[in-house]
């Protein structure tokens, strides 16, 4: 019942292919699937694995993420014994710190690792969407007597963007080597930038690696450890579909994948709900001129026009005569009369004026930035 795993979420990486979507937010704070942020899925995985002590390493542009997490009480992570700990970047009189890689970030937050009491630590980057039971990862880690367990997937979804890190895993499940951004991967196993090991071991490894001048966890430290063969490094294959949100197109396609009921049923399993920050909106309202098919619609929406193959976040308004197709409309978007939007991603508080038409090809969705009126 008491969890033996502390969680640590690294929200630092800037993924340039996400362009305007991360201009004012970290990847972890990306709005997803009508009412969530990307980090909600990681937090829910942790909660449903019984984890109560979770640190979130912040970097630049972390205001929206901090605002989203708040006191953590939507996730029951607001306790005084445990809960969510925001680990902001170090800011001193001599300037603000941006970490030079995950290793640096871990090193700067060693005090969080040290004052935690759990035996194991699960560290994960924040650009992937997946469901997994970390407690099962830990159980397997113990069973196999591994020193380090790396999470990986064989889902080909995650290769959409053409970059990635791949694991060479032997038949016993032991990781033999790792390759970075190959043109054609030699192994089917995509490393998910998530790993589990004993907390004390991580503290030790980080300390030594930083002292040796390293900055990058996978590219430098992991590679060296794989080379040295001093530790047993195992792989854990995550079941189910995995999405890597590493470009505008991947963001778009991931959201669209959820129009498939099977996908939703798996990810939103009734016994493992995804919690998120609440807005207390009323139910969505359909008027007599509404027409909505194959779409996800969040509370607070008012629909008087046509919506097809789209995802509407909270409090989106679609006026009579307006048409929304193949699009993602973030919260408070307003589509005025007779406007048409096709294959677009509208960021928060966007207004589309009466009669405006904006149509993009489905494999090149257009992003309209926050607060814009077009």
């Amino acid at each position: 019942m008491k969890s033996n795993i502390v969680g640590l979420i690294f929200t630092g990486d800037r993924i340039e292919d996400l362009r305007d979507l991360i201009r004012n937010r970290s990847v972890a704070a990306l709005p997803m699937l009508g009412r969530y942020r990307l980090i909600d899925f990681l937090l829910s995985n942790m909660i449903h694995s019984g984890m109560h002590n979770i640190g979130i390493i912040m970097q630049s542009n972390y205001h929206s993420l901090m605002d989203h997490i708040g006191s953590g009480r939507e996730w029951d992570l607001h306790g005084k014994r445990s809960g969510v700990t925001i680990l902001p970047p170090y800011v001193s009189n001599t300037g603000g710190g941006v970490y030079d890689g995950m290793l640096d970030a871990l090193h700067s937050n060693l005090s969080f690792l040290r004052r935690s009491s759990e035996r194991y630590i699960l560290v994960t980057d924040s650009y992937m969407l997946y469901r997994v039971q970390y407690d099962e990862v830990c159980a397997r880690h113990i069973d196999t007597k591994a020193d380090i367990t790396l999470l990986y997937t064989k889902d080909r979804n995650v290769r959409r963007n053409g970059w990635g890190r791949y694991l060479n895993i032997d038949p016993d499940g032991i990781v033999q080597s790792m390759e970075f951004d190959p043109t054609i991967p030699h192994y089917p196993n995509t490393y998910m930038s998530a790993f589990l090991m004993r907390r004390e071991l991580l503290i030790d490894l980080v300390d030594r690696a930083v002292a040796a001048g390293m900055h990058h966890f996978a590219r430098e430290l992991l590679v060296q450890l794989l080379h040295e063969r001093m530790y047993k490094i195992a792989g854990y294959e995550c079941p189910g579909e995995i999405w890597s949100i590493d470009s505008v197109l991947a963001y778009y396609q991931t959201n669209m994948d959820f129009l498939n009921t099977k996908v939703r049923t798996h990810v939103f399993a009734a016994d493992r709900p995804i919690w998120t920050k609440l807005r207390d909106e009323m139910p969505a309202r359909y008027t007599s001129t509404a027409r909505v098919v194959n779409s996800l619609v969040a509370d607070g929406c008012v629909i008087e026009g046509t919506v097809e193959n789209s995802i509407l976040f909270r409090s989106v308004a679609v006026k009579p005569g307006a048409v929304v197709r193949n699009s993602i409309l973030m919260q408070d978007a307003l589509i005025n009369r007779n406007a048409e939007v096709d294959s677009c991603i509208l960021d928060k508080q966007t207004t589309v004026r009466e009669g405006t038409r904006i149509v993009a090809p489905r494999d090149f969705p257009i992003v309209i930035g926050k607060n814009l009126t077009i």
Binding site: T261, D280, A284, N294, S295
Partner: protein, 390 residues
């Protein structure tokens, strides 16, 4: 940890609410779902916090389990406080014996100690079966300005309906001169809403007296208000002009849901300055499938709609299968409407399952009801006004 509060609210969550039939067979009335994502109690609780009142006692003795679980720590309403918050107040033993609540006044009497902890100047007394948005702080200001012992919220009802209500007759300065319960020949159309503000010392005094009076039925309307009037206390009426609906019957509960579908709605739930808070159950956005058709309706997160929904309220996690039709109906959380079923002028309660091609309700006549967890076999017919339980 307990601080003085200017005003403490006491919410009469009531008894079984038998006029709601099978809808309250397993839950207390305030826990009945309303408007897609709310329960009735969300309205008075949200009104309280929006009015700046952060101590609420909920008086109940009937199946408080679900209500207790729903209220929980009070967090959804920002009522999880060290210095106040929301408390469920059941009857209790004081020594050798305990006694169940006899009437509304007795229930408050038994919990005067609760209010006393906060040393309040005023006590606001509310009912748990009304749908409305009201700024109680305006009523309390009115009470203070009029130096009243008690203030009673009234709303003007059509004259022809006045004889169905408790009617307050007032002078031109809002002072209540007479209270008549369901008068045959009403002298005014100011009907009591069951919302009272009392100065705490007066409430204490008259409830003590009411307890001593063996002839009393221990009810505010029947006993305490008349006693205060005849003792010459200053009693004022506060006129409320907004939307207000008693949802104590199947018909009125259905009506109030349908009111939300009017354009424009008589009560705006979109108003960001007066949100109605509710406990969230963590569902994804609702999904309207390829063949779905939804018109003039409210649809809540978690729904999966493959059929046709017209002029209806769908609560969280309702499934409407392909070919099913839902018309002029209220579907409560987690209900499932099977393929080809037709639901018309009906209330389908939580977790009910309607089999394929079943027909519930009719175009005319009373509202049909399918109770919570009930499971209708394929092809079943439920006629107008019929209630089908588990």
């Amino acid at each position: 940890m307990i601080r003085k509060k200017s005003c403490v609210a006491m919410l009469l969550a009531g008894g079984q609410g038998s006029r709601l039939g099978i809808l309250t067979r397993n839950v207390a009335k305030p826990a009945v779902p309303f408007g897609g994502k709310y329960r009735i109690i969300d309205f008075p609780l949200s009104n309280c916090v929006n009015s700046g009142i952060d101590v609420v006692g909920v008086l109940t003795q009937y199946r408080p389990l679900e209500l207790n679980a729903y209220i929980g720590s009070g967090a959804p309403w920002d009522l999880d406080l060290n210095s106040g918050g929301v408390y469920v107040l059941p009857p209790y033993h004081t020594g050798k014996t305990g006694e169940w609540y006899r009437g509304t006044a007795n229930a408050i009497y038994q919990n005067l100690e609760f209010a006393k902890q906060y040393n309040p100047d005023y006590v606001l007394i509310l009912s748990g079966d009304h749908i409305y948005k009201m700024d109680y702080s305006e009523m309390i200001d009115h009470h203070i300005q009029h130096k009243a012992a008690a203030t009673i919220a009234v709303r003007q009802v059509p004259w022809e309906e006045a004889s169905r209500f408790g009617i307050m007759n007032t002078d031109e300065d809002f002072n209540i001169t007479e209270f008549e319960e369901k008068p045959a020949n009403p002298k005014s159309n100011n009907a009591s809403m069951g919302v009272y503000v009392f100065s705490f010392d007066k409430l204490y005094k008259y409830l003590e007296a009411d307890e001593q009076d063996e002839a009393s039925s221990n009810d505010f309307g029947n006993d305490v208000i008349p006693a205060m009037l005849s003792a010459g206390e200053r009693m004022t009426a506060f006129t409320f002009k907004g939307y207000w609906k008693d949802v104590g019957t199947i018909e009125s509960l259905w009506d109030a849901n349908m009111d939300l579908l009017k354009q424009p709605p008589p009560m705006d739930l979109h108003d960001r300055k007066w949100r109605i808070y509710a406990r969230n159950i963590g569902m994804p956005p609702h999904y309207a499938a390829k063949g779905a058709q939804v018109l003039d309706s409210l649809v809540t997160e978690g729904c999966q709609i493959e059929g046709a929904v017209t002029h209806s309220v769908l609560s969280a996690n309702v499934t409407v299968e392909a070919g099913a039709q839902v018309i002029d109906s209220v579907i409560m959380p987690f209900a499932r409407i099977g393929k080809g079923a037709v639901i018309r002028r009906a209330i389908i309660a939580e977790h009910a399952v309607i089999g394929a091609n079943a027909v519930v309700g009719e175009e005319e006549g009373d509202i049909a009801v399918v109770g919570s967890n009930a499971s209708l076999e394929a092809g079943t017919r439920v006629t107008a006004g019929q209630q089908v339980g588990e």
